[in-house]
């Protein structure tokens, strides 16, 4: 397989946008780099930028490995990506409005109705609910990879509670602290205004008639894997970080319990899945949510960001239809590529997939976080046979895609500097007609040689992402 290297071209020459960095790296003594890497580790530990891993001892925290070689994107490439992301997120929001209102796209036969309406992520409680500005996905994390020839693909859209933005911000802070000289030499587009931008968006979608909304961040609690990020964002925006038990609903209005008595809440940036939001509507056993909050939401007395029911648009079984959505709602040709996808619920596709398992990536339709997937070329015979059984048992639970030759980038690993595969997750913010993002996003890197899985839960690390200004 041919991999696209972010730093070097096929002839081993340094790509123009990496020239400055490469010169610096060559000129910097290895001892200094080593010392800086140790310093970064210690600083991350002391600051407590950690995440918890599910299935490990409760409360145990791990550091996400941080790599000091940045991922550099030239501005021309970023401009193209940005325009494609705007288009895509706009269409996804229009799709969500549509499926919870007139369902034009289903009537037009572009997506099979049962695919949407029978989807576990389709939330009938949202039918006819008019969310402010028609926005469902206020925060979208779009996973983008670059394949063999250097072309970008959207791997998946995360419209529920995408995480990782705090690492994007902390990685930048760390790079600036460790190597200030690099920022003097390069025109790196700043990203630190993300929390301001987010707060502005959240305030913009307050319920009608609220002029000075109270915004809060809702977290499942200190043992959640992304708890650091929840506290970070609340602090950076200067809003309260609440848990479900801090909130209650009275007469379809949401209040938080404060030392001065109940205080009304208008906008909730919730980092809690739909299923746990309201035990009177969704999972009864959820103690993390707020009883009655969905009624308050339906009544328009509180805004949830992201909206309830966005999962129906980022489900892997809906993913193949996104290009069609763009054509249908915007009348434009998609600017970003979708990965060709085999839908195993279609008998022809299933037959093909079963015949080509060793070369495909198989994903659970509702899976996330790199769990429950098969990377054919990297799997043993037993693993492949295991998935074959799963596929035959429950074909509609899976999709398959060709294994993409994910691009790689030089990365510090045990044996020195070696190429490792990476992806990119820009964070796209929407309110009304306006879709914005800070330049770049979070670059995740698979630290295991040859691995194509970049998720932090699977041992992935992160890199600072530089969009170079002209």
């Amino acid at each position: 397989m041919n991999f696209y290297n972010e730093m070097y071209d096929a002839n081993g020459g340094v790509r123009a946008h990496y020239k400055g960095y490469e010169d610096w790296l060559k000129a910097t003594p290895p001892e200094r780099i080593e010392r800086k890497r140790a310093e970064a580790d210690l600083a991350f530990h002391r600051v407590g930028i950690t995440f918890a891993v599910y299935g490990e001892e409760a409360g145990k925290e791990r550091l996400i490995p941080f790599d000091i070689i940045p991922r550099v994107i030239p501005s021309t490439e970023w401009k193209a990506l940005q325009s494609g992301l705007r288009q895509r997120v706009k269409a996804l929001n229009m799709f969500l409005w549509d499926v919870y209102h007139d369902q034009e796209i289903l009537k037009a036969g572009i997506i099979p109705a049962e695919q949407v309406l029978n989807n576990a992520q389709y939330r009938p409680v949202m039918k006819g609910v008019d969310v402010p500005g028609g926005i469902y996905a206020h925060i979208t994390g779009v996973d983008i990879v670059r394949a063999g020839e250097g072309e970008f693909y959207v791997l998946e859209d995360n419209l529920r509670v995408p995480s990782g933005v705090s690492y994007m911000l902390e990685d930048r802070k760390m790079m600036m602290r460790l190597f200030p000289e690099l920022f003097a030499k390069h025109k790196v587009a700043p990203v630190q205004h993300y929390p301001d931008m987010l707060l502005e968006k959240l305030r913009a979608v307050a319920p009608q008639g609220v002029s000075n909304p109270t915004v809060v961040v809702l977290t499942p609690g200190a043992y959640n894997s992304a708890y650091f990020e929840h506290t970070f964002l609340a602090q950076q925006m200067g809003v309260e970080l609440v848990e479900g038990r801090d909130l209650f609903v009275k007469d379809e209005v949401v209040y938080m319990r404060t030392t001065q008595g109940p205080q009304r809440v208008d906008v909730i940036y919730r980092r809690l899945d739909d299923d746990f939001m309201d035990p009177t509507v969704f999972r009864e056993d959820s103690s993390l949510g707020v009883p009655g909050i969905i009624r308050a939401y339906q009544a328009g007395n509180v805004t949830l960001a992201n909206a309830v029911g966005t999962g129906v648009a980022d489900d892997k079984s809906i993913y193949p239809y996104v290009p069609e959505m763009i054509r249908f709602y915007l009348g434009e040709e998609p600017k970003l590529n979708n990965v060709p996808t085999y839908m195993c619920r279609k008998p022809d596709d299933l037959a093909y997939v079963l015949d080509h398992l060793p070369e495909l990536v198989v994903k659970e339709v509702h899976g996330a976080g790199g769990y429950g997937m098969l990377v054919g070329p990297a799997s043993t015979k037993e693993q492949i046979e295991h998935f074959r059984k799963l596929l035959i048992d429950k074909p509609d639970g899976y999709i398959a895609q060709p294994t993409l030759a994910l691009s790689n980038c030089p990365t510090f690993v045990e044996e020195g500097i070696a190429p490792r595969h990476l992806d990119l997750r820009p964070f796209v913010l929407s309110s009304g007609e306006c879709v914005n993002m800070v330049p770049g996003g979070l670059t995740r890197v698979a630290l295991t040689k040859g691995s194509l899985v970049v998720n932090s839960s699977q041992g992935g690390g992160t890199k600072d992402t530089w969009v170079l200004e002209d």
Partner: protein
């Protein structure tokens, strides 16, 4: 501010203060154990620490003998003992973790780093490195935590709850030490010579030895020690000083239902503000201190009900 946030701040500050007080008490006892004395007398001093913290049962469940090493191990490093320095530092950090967004970066890093350091040191390492160094370290970390709070935190409600937690904990601790030591060192009716070293140690445990000299310029007598630790309004670890600060901070966070708690705090404060040591001693120091500790406890309880536990759901 969220009630839960205030609750975490309150307990965060109590635990770090508790760790410091414990380090002070253990350090003084450790220093005292080096003064020539019978083994029985020495062990009595160690036992006092267990009794002072009402941990007789928990200690007996793990150790058969009361001696310096066992008591130190139990009170310094035992993760199962919720009153050990180890546990206090962990709980302070856990409470801070739950509200780290409310703390300044400096405060959070101080508590987080303190815990990470403490966690990685075994009792044997502490002993061989000199346990007094460790107590010193705990005091410094607690001071650092107080310092970052004072130097970086906005003096809003969060600050008020942190101060109240710190001072209630400290008042309780000073009262406890005084009650216990006074009892042990000066049995009823004994007007004989007082043990300079013992009283000196008590003063040192609350950083009041030099203060005593400055204030009285005279020999150490039990009654003056009691006066200093109870009624002196300028001594940062005295009951009067603590209550001064408690009512000031309580006043700043008052809400619709906290009137009774404020009244109780005011009453307690008035007693210290206008009280005389002669009257307190006439009433019986032990009785007086027991009553004080009961009322401090009720005060903590009232603050908890008025501010920290989620309020009744009335809009």
């Amino acid at each position: 501010m969220l009630s839960r946030t205030a609750d975490h701040l309150f307990w965060m500050s109590r635990y770090i203060e508790r760790a410091e007080n414990l380090a002070r008490l253990l350090d003084v006892t450790w220093q005292m154990s080096m003064v020539p004395q019978s083994e029985e007398a020495a062990n009595q001093n160690w036992n006092a620490i267990i009794v002072l913290n009402s941990l007789e049962e928990a200690f007996a469940a793990k150790y058969s003998v009361v001696n310096g090493e066992n008591v130190l191990k139990f009170m310094v490093s035992d993760p199962d003992n919720y009153s050990s320095i180890h546990s206090c530092l962990r709980l302070a950090r856990e409470n801070a973790h739950a509200v780290r967004g409310t703390l300044t970066t400096e405060m959070w890093e101080t508590l987080n780093y303190t815990w990470l350091e403490a966690r990685d040191r075994s009792f044997e390492q502490l002993l061989s490195a000199g346990i007094s160094d460790y107590f010193e370290w705990v005091k410094v970390r607690s001071s650092l935590s107080r310092g970052t709070t004072l130097g970086t935190l906005l003096q809003d409600e969060a600050y008020n709850f942190i101060r109240i937690g710190t001072l209630l904990e400290r008042a309780d601790n000073t009262a406890r030490i005084l009650d216990f030591k006074y009892h042990v060192l000066r049995p009823l009716g004994d007007e004989g010579a007082t043990d300079f070293y013992e009283w000196g140690a008590l003063l040192r445990s609350v950083s009041a030895f030099e203060v005593y000299r400055k204030v009285y310029r005279d020999a150490i007598t039990p009654d003056r020690v009691a006066e200093l630790l109870i009624l002196n309004k300028d001594m940062p670890r005295s009951l009067h000083f603590c209550m001064n600060s408690v009512i000031k901070n309580l006043d700043l966070i008052a809400n619709r239902q906290s009137g009774e708690t404020a009244r109780q705090a005011g009453l307690l404060h008035a007693q210290l503000h206008y009280g005389r040591i002669e009257d307190i001693l006439a009433q019986g120091l032990h009785e007086w201190l027991t009553d004080f500790m009961d009322r401090i406890y009720l005060l903590g309880d009232g603050i908890s009900k008025d501010f920290l536990v989620p309020m009744a759901e009335v809009a």
